[in-house]
Amino acid sequence: MEDVVVFLKDVWKTYDEGNNKVVVLKKINASFKRGEIIGIHGPSGSGKTTLLKLIAGLIRPDRGEIIVDGYNLNMLDENGLAMIRNTVVSYIPQDYGVIDDFTVFENVELPMLIAGVGREERGRRVKEVLEYIGLHSKINVKTKLLSGGEKQRVAIARALVMTPSVLLADEPTANLDWNTALKVIELFKNIREDFRTTIIIVTHDPRLLDLMDRSLTLMDGYLKDATYRHRESL
């Protein structure tokens, strides 16, 4: 268990669709180590996003245990899960989730506003993280004026500003061209090197899997290790 940051044991998740119950995740067992970059691949509707949301503490499993950086999410109430989302794990949604009416600075400082960080400290940390991401020149620009790749970087900066142990990215390259996608993955690799962050990336693009340390496939609700199978097929 040493250096395991995310641990899932016998996790099940079901959604109600009218009168039917759809089992999205079945008996998921997995562990992710500190500083690992993991790719999760699978067809649409296979439960990739659901898996990320469970790890992020955004939704709860029907059954099973999820432990993130030592916190058993089942044992936490709503306030506890909020604390985890603010300080331990950051989720980057597929459509970036940036607020178009806010500037880059205002978007990135939001997690710190939630945490009650003081004004000067917020300013210093936002500048630091934007310099790291390479968006310092756009600090006071409204995000609606940015390109897709820049919005993605704002979302990454916002996720990084509280230096979480786990970064979850839902289809981070879905709306980007291949060159921009490669730059985003390069940025994730730098983040892993500099902060030892565990990064879990959901993608439908099989080309990206070769750039990860490990890749998993979600199929029919089951999670399978796909690293070797994928590399052999190349």
Partner: protein, 139 residues
């Protein structure tokens, strides 16, 4: 861990179009109340206040839903979300009820309650939808 709720509140106000709509609606309601010619007019004006309260939230639906989504994803405690929603609804309600304060104090409290509950209900529905699905609701 004290959240900077008032800072988030102030940013929401400055970016919202809904409050401008509330202010314009409030001036119109004031004019209607000044020029009232029969006993039903105050009730019609109060109905207009409720509609304006709903419009003030719906016109900023995208801003409110994405902001509430980000606050949920980045861990604002549910109690603080409720406080933020209540503060915003109260502000909309006060703006829309000002004409009643200037003309008739008894109607002021009724208008304030109705417009406040309208705004609060819509914002709470948006937040509940986000909390249950972890998705930004679409309109």
């Amino acid at each position: 861990m004290g959240s900077n709720i008032l800072v988030i509140f102030a940013k929401t106000i400055t970016r919202s179009s809904g409050l401008k709509i509330s202010a314009i609606a409030s001036i119109n309601i004031l004019v209607i109340l000044f020029l009232r010619s029969n006993a039903l007019i105050p009730y019609v004006a109060m109905l207009l206040s409720v509609v304006a309260s709903a419009s003030a939230i719906i016109v900023d639906f995208r801003l409110h839903s994405i902001l509430l989504y980000v606050l949920f994803v980045y861990g604002l405690r549910p109690g603080n979300v409720r406080l933020l929603i209540s503060l915003y609804s109260l502000l909309v309600a006060i703006v829309l009820s000002l004409p009643y304060l200037m003309i008739d104090l008894v109607s002021f409290s009724l208008s304030l309650s109705m417009t406040f509950l309208t705004a609060l209900s819509i914002l709470s529905l948006i937040y509940r939808s986000i909390k249950n699905t972890a998705y930004v609701p679409q309109i």
